[in-house]
Symmetry: C2
Subunit: 284 residues, 2 copies
């Protein structure tokens, strides 16, 4: 069994750290760094890092200066990710617990390899014999990313100012029609973190993971159209699906974490047990 | 709340990688590296790594050559860790899942920063209202390391050729007089990994973690004398103890992992939530 996630490869090793106020907040590819080099009044190289010019010393003026650069790049059409401009300000901080150092348009975060946070929910049941079944979602064919792939029962990104629990309850209701009173019973059980890259940039992500034990007679229903179907599988079938290419990769990681925490995978029969656990918790 | 673990600091950054057959298997401090430099027929520098001379190209001859060096250093009395020579061959491999590349006397592993593996068991109860209590051990005052500190209910190192589950059952019986039939019910729930340093060397460790739910009327008893007392505490009291200096640091990490997996610590009320999870899973 493999975690099925595009690993942090040599490409990231050639990237420059993106530092703000002396702290790393992301990764910048050589290609993006050379474009940012056209704006010497905003960015400057600093060893193996890109940082702000010293005049840009506050949350406000960093946010404004980056917005001006991004608007120009968006008009040029240099980067495909900027076509998806959302007018949504994303808070940039070194760690989740730190105060934000600047705002940045959400669609641009992959250019700067800024860490993004979200919530994933494992929906499962346990019968009187202790047997586990899990609810999985199949993503709509109209989704921009990973259409038609398997997903966790509910998931979504954290918006600035929203609590983790609030986001979890909202996504359960919107995506799977789970009543808030039931979703509130979900237990936070840790995080899964990783970095992947694609043509649109670098994506370091951290997902807050919840386990929601559902009544045996409960069924999730399609909500906002991000899901085309829900499946209800015995946990051994879910384990088999993990080694297929069916899953969206980060959702496979959330399921793998569930299988380990619930002792479905055991260290003596799975030689990569510790490698799996370590692989679920990569840092920036 | 802090993980209470001596962090990987600037000292490790100044260390050299210990590489065998092109793969990193440990860390060597500059002080140890300069001593190993006296044996140019065995070790050679290789960039920011120390590795074997190319003639030492097999499991056998690497193991023999290192043993000769270690016997000489032991007679000299250069390193305090070698006073504790155990005549126990430890298998050295890049990852737990890899075949061993050499044997090394166990007492010497901290000189080479070779990763060690063990088992820790959380003993707990859950009453009909869902309230958790946890069993903790206080280490004997005669223990060489961390005498008198709080520990998990049972724990111990993995010996070559022993399975993880076998080691868990053995330690439960020896340290806490838990009958094998009960210990067998423990569930493997992941790993906790970290690196610490002290005067005796560098200790990268990986602990396989088990949760053992005990009957409400069960009591562990002192077994082989490594424990002086067992305590039975409500989980909130255990949480409070974590921020004290009472715990052996790696045992505190195992408890922190338990508190996160059982939703005793929640992401919206603990700003360092993700930092805690990431900190429990450091790689070599």
């Amino acid at each position: 069994m493999e975690a099925n996630m595009k690993p942090v490869g040599s490409s990231l090793e050639s990237c420059l750290r993106f530092e703000v106020a002396g702290e790393q907040v992301g990764w910048i590819s050589p290609k993006v760094a050379s474009v940012l080099g056209r704006f010497p009044s905003v960015f400057r190289p600093y060893g193996s890092a890109v940082t702000f010019c010293s005049s840009l010393d506050s949350f406000e003026n960093r946010s404004v200066a980056v917005d001006e650069v991004l608007q120009e790049l968006r008009e040029e059409g240099s980067f495909s990710c900027l076509i998806g401009w959302r007018d949504e300000q994303y808070a940039v901080m070194p760690r989740y617990c730190d105060p934000p150092l600047m705002f940045m348009e959400r669609a641009a975060t992959s250019l700067f390899g800024v860490k993004r946070y979200g919530v994933h929910v494992n929906g499962y049941t346990r019968d009187s014999g202790g047997n586990l079944n899990m609810w999985l979602a199949r993503r709509s064919l109209t989704k921009q990313t990973y259409p038609g792939r398997l997903d966790n029962m509910a998931a979504g990104g954290l918006a600035a100012g929203c609590s983790v629990r609030h986001t979890m309850v909202k996504e359960c209701e919107e995506e799977a029609c789970i009543p808030p009173g039931l979703a509130e019973q979900a237990l936070p059980v840790g995080t899964v973190s990783y970095t992947y890259e694609d043509d649109e940039g670098i994506f370091p992500e951290c997902q807050f993971v919840f386990d929601l034990e559902l009544p045996l007679n409960f069924q999730p229903h399609i909500g906002d159209g991000e899901v085309q179907a829900f499946y209800y599988y015995p946990i051994e079938k879910v384990k088999d699906l993990l080694v297929s290419e069916e899953f969206k990769p980060n959702c496979a990681m959330v399921v793998l974490d569930f299988l380990i925490r619930h002792a479905i995978i055991e260290p003596d029969s799975e030689p990569y047990y510790h490698e799996f656990v370590a692989g679920l918790h990569r840092s920036l």
